[in-house]
Symmetry: C2
Subunit: 368 residues, 2 copies
Amino acid sequence: MVDFYGTHQAGIATAAQDHIAFASFDVVSGSAQELLAMLDSWSAAAARLSTGRPLPGPSDTALPPTDTGEALGLGPSRLTLSWGVGPTLFTIPAGASLRRPSGLVALPNFAGDQLDPTRSDGDLCLQACADDPQVAFHAIHSLARIGEGVVTLRAVQRGFGRTSTTTSAQTTQRNLLGFKDGTNNLLADRPGDLDEFVWLPSGEEPRWMAGGSYLVMRRIRTRLELWGATALSIQEAAIGRSKISGAPLGAHHEHDRVDLAAVGAHGLPVIPEGAHIRVASPEANAGQRILRRGYSFADGIDPASGELDAGLLFISFQRDPRSQFVSLQRRLAANDALHGYLTHTASGLYACPRGINPTQGWGELLTT
Amino acid sequence: MVDFYGTHQAGIATAAQDHIAFASFDVVSGSAQELLAMLDSWSAAAARLSTGRPLPGPSDTALPPTDTGEALGLGPSRLTLSWGVGPTLFTIPAGASLRRPSGLVALPNFAGDQLDPTRSDGDLCLQACADDPQVAFHAIHSLARIGEGVVTLRAVQRGFGRTSTTTSAQTTQRNLLGFKDGTNNLLADRPGDLDEFVWLPSGEEPRWMAGGSYLVMRRIRTRLELWGATALSIQEAAIGRSKISGAPLGAHHEHDRVDLAAVGAHGLPVIPEGAHIRVASPEANAGQRILRRGYSFADGIDPASGELDAGLLFISFQRDPRSQFVSLQRRLAANDALHGYLTHTASGLYACPRGINPTQGWGELLTT
């Protein structure tokens, strides 16, 4: 069980669970009061569900059950429910009186983006992570029901097989490209790193963002058929690591230091210029880093191509999306050898407020 | 680890795993020889993957890796790969010389069906079940690659949270309606039941169906929003069981006997006339039973309604689809109180040949 309450929201620095259900919502109520009351109901429900208990409700059989029931008996499964607000929230009547965080910009278009607007953006987002997929689904299902009349579901994307290591105790998993993913991710159990790269500082305005973070979601389709027809040497050059061991090219073990300066035969860099781990490295990005919390997805067949509609549900947390994600993604879209195998099909940027204590609610927090 | 070889295919009477990836394929080669050779390659790969080992291949880095790699390190995870042939296989050049099993009929349309042809049918199907979703995905991904040039992927449906108990050692799980599902399923560790209802007998023609079975796949969307707005008493009357305990109405415990004859207040049956467990019962279906191996699915939002596109990936095995599934589903479509909450959105019927031993292949088997 993961504690719902705290300075920071659960589900960001929490050791990544095995499954995710990520949902976005449109606000349909024109009333700020209704919206804030719903958000208070959401946080109360999220706290309850995080303990593994069903939503409380009347036992009158003439009424619909409050809890839909599909997670009964499955326990907490380390469920976390995290939330964020999108840029559009501040442009609609219910959100117009709220203060918009300065980092909550419209993300630019990046080279190669093929974004589906129905899967992107949204006034609000919810990230449910759990070690059981049914527990994560139940959490989104439950909060969508609570929100009826105030919000509508815009999109739900489920993912499995976490592709990011977020604490030093976790082992690195493989993504659908078959490579270990997230070896050099920020680690949540090194608090100094999170303060530098993830959490907004105590003086931040609006005050509800002090201790909060920004969440970027990208649904990245990976062209598995093209990748699968690519020579192992070219796959490894595109990533910059050995496929089986996960070691940086020129090294022997997964956690060996990435030596971007190493030069090999013919004076060429051992880790090629376009290798993903070079282009994404802090050295190539003014020292910037992000906390990734990615998952794999596989949603059947893409009707246009007949190929698998599968890839990476990329989620990252950062203090400032402009100097971190946007800057990094511009560089990747221009220089990353992996980029030709990827298509970004959905996108979202959300401001995730700080955590609350048991006397507070998410809606009330937004007025502080 | 589940043994791939045996009299019957693995994945039918195997204790249901936690995850499924179900795929259908169209044959694009016109050559029976190519098709049968591919099927032999499929069974060799399926046997290998079931042991948790990657596909073997050359270590030449100038070639694409044989194994795509995403399941490396995940172990066997009780992977089973099962296969079947659809009615259309026998109408195309590559399959015209094969003998069509007599039970491999075109399924009729049932009241309320809204079938998506792109998700339905197919010349071949593969069912990959495993306790890890990435292992199940890798199995389908691998066999699709092996089939390149001979078959194309038609549809892939993933599922989680098994909704059927298939051995007496398994506990009953809940479906997305929040009810325990599969309490009175056939149990694979009662061999007499399987011989009576699932396996085709030793004299069956074609011979490759002796020890085989028929697989019915139905993608059943459950209208969770409508169901969630329904009184608990009406939900329980529609199922015929108590939601929390799973006990039949009028009884106390999940595994109490279902007493269809019990009469309550006002002379009305305790288990209502339209209750799912009554309409689906052997008593109402000439004693017939089927082996269910269902999973939940949740595929985001249905664009037409804005509601969750979620429900039950129904899979059943039976000796004769005509006297078992078709007869049962006709009765359910006409009388089941649950039917108004369900929409069948995809369908398939496949003949699943008997199992093989290590000296045989799936293609070779079809010529016996």
